[in-house]
Symmetry: C2
Subunit: 243 residues, 2 copies
DNA sequence: ATTATCTATAGATCTATAGATAATGC
DNA sequence: ATTATCTATAGATCTATAGATAATGC
């Protein structure tokens, strides 16, 4: 016990250990003592690897992003109305609940931690949020645009409704909002319907809001199929190496 | 200078002065030194009026809510589809941009401060958020429900779409999201269209998402009129005593 | 010989209190 | 006489560094 790691390994270990602390307590609430304890090293070692607490925090963006190679699975699908529906469902589900947590990795960086780091970032300068969105959302945009075009061509979507990127971002926003406003353990918002329906309701709202016709929604939005689809994607995620 | 206030006056003065500090730096980032300086009193006095920093923070909910008596203006309107559209526009505008800031009140509690206190609350136990929503949003719900019923009766809104309170809350959520994600000075989200259109785009998304028919939107959603309507409500707000 | 790591501690800062002083209301 | 307010400071905690020790790679 007390393995000696290389500089880079230890540096990453410290960063990983710091994520839950910064996520739960914010920059000011987190102490170097806690971070050192979580990383199982002395406080002094933190300062050998980083010039200061501020740097540990700002470097989180370089590590705290579990990048799933989803582009293969979903991105390879045909851009069409059905895919659009699936992608929106997937997006909102991913943002709201996050991917399933594998139980083998103990000190995994959880979705809750990511949510909180993001929320903190928006209260600060947004630096972490920019990096996160760049890495995890950006590459979806072009594929999503193609889906929209296909849907418009098929007559499944209003052409002159809102800006194409507004369609995308507001679907994202709905996911962010329900995920974010539901962070506290004690419920803040009382929707008046069971939590299990939240994803379904939110996706309906988003799909129609972005301009999908009622006929297209009736034809392509089937919650049971989408749940199966999502479970399938999640299954493949769990058997994937994290990068 | 150095006026001596009664206990209650001083207590409120401290709370008001503490709002910007807690809003900008969060509970842990705010120091009693700063709060005392902002309130122009000694640190010791804080502890004469409050048992501790924690209490100052938790008591913010009792003061930091500028309660506008809007129920008179908007709430007296006839519950109908047009009113529904106006209320949604008003809601999203209020959440996103907030009311206009009167320049006479210097150390006013700004909308930005409220946004940040709310955001911090959702990262904590949500206590402040519960109080805030209870006071400022709750009383809108029943009026909004009546508008929805009227719209459904008039054939302007899909009946079996999403839960009535989902219609309401998701409109709220869109306002929260765009307000929240746009807190940082340096832009995080690039919508691809001018910021001035954000409100318009968001309200369209919300109206259609909640189930309004395309015909009803074409008939009742007119951005220029709504802007005038909003300006009118804001005007009356500015000439109102704050309570 | 180099690099990772620790123990011990300095110096700053932060919350909170003790005890004194000044203003108000009877 | 009571209540508001201040100065001064204790005690805890927090960030960061100095200097010593132990493990690795040549």
């Amino acid at each position: 016990m007390g393995k000696r790691l290389t500089g880079e390994e230890r540096r990453n270990a410290i960063l990983r250990a710091a994520v839950p602390i910064f996520a739960r307590k914010g920059f000011n609430g987190a102490t170097t003592k806690e971070i050192a304890a979580a990383a199982r090293v002395s406080e002094a070692l933190l300062y050998k690897h980083f010039p200061g607490k501020e740097t540990i925090y700002s470097e989180l963006g370089t590590i705290a992003v579990r990048k799933h190679d989803i582009a293969q699975g979903v991105g390879a699908m045909q851009p069409c109305t059905q895919t659009l529906v699936s992608v929106v469902y997937f997006l909102v589900a991913m943002i709201y609940q996050g991917p399933p947590e594998s139980d083998d990795d103990q000190d995994e960086i959880t979705h809750d931690h990511m949510h909180r780091l993001m929320a903190n970032s928006f209260l600060e300068d947004g630096a972490f949020a920019r990096i996160f969105l760049q890495r995890n959302i950006k590459h979806w945009e072009s594929f999503f645009q193609r889906c929209i075009e296909a849907a418009v061509d098929a007559g499944d979507m209003l052409e002159d409704w809102i800006h194409p990127r507004a369609r995308w971002w507001f679907a994202h926003h709905i996911g962010v909002a329900i995920g974010y406003l539901n962070l506290p353990e004690e419920q803040v918002i009382h929707y008046g319907f069971p939590r299990e329906q939240l994803l379904d309701q939110a996706v309906r709202f988003a799909l129609r809001g972005m301009g999908l016709t009622d006929e297209a929604i009736a034809r392509y939005y089937h919650i049971e199929e989408l749940e199966r689809f999502l479970a399938g994607v999640f299954d493949s995620l769990l058997n994937q190496p994290t990068s």
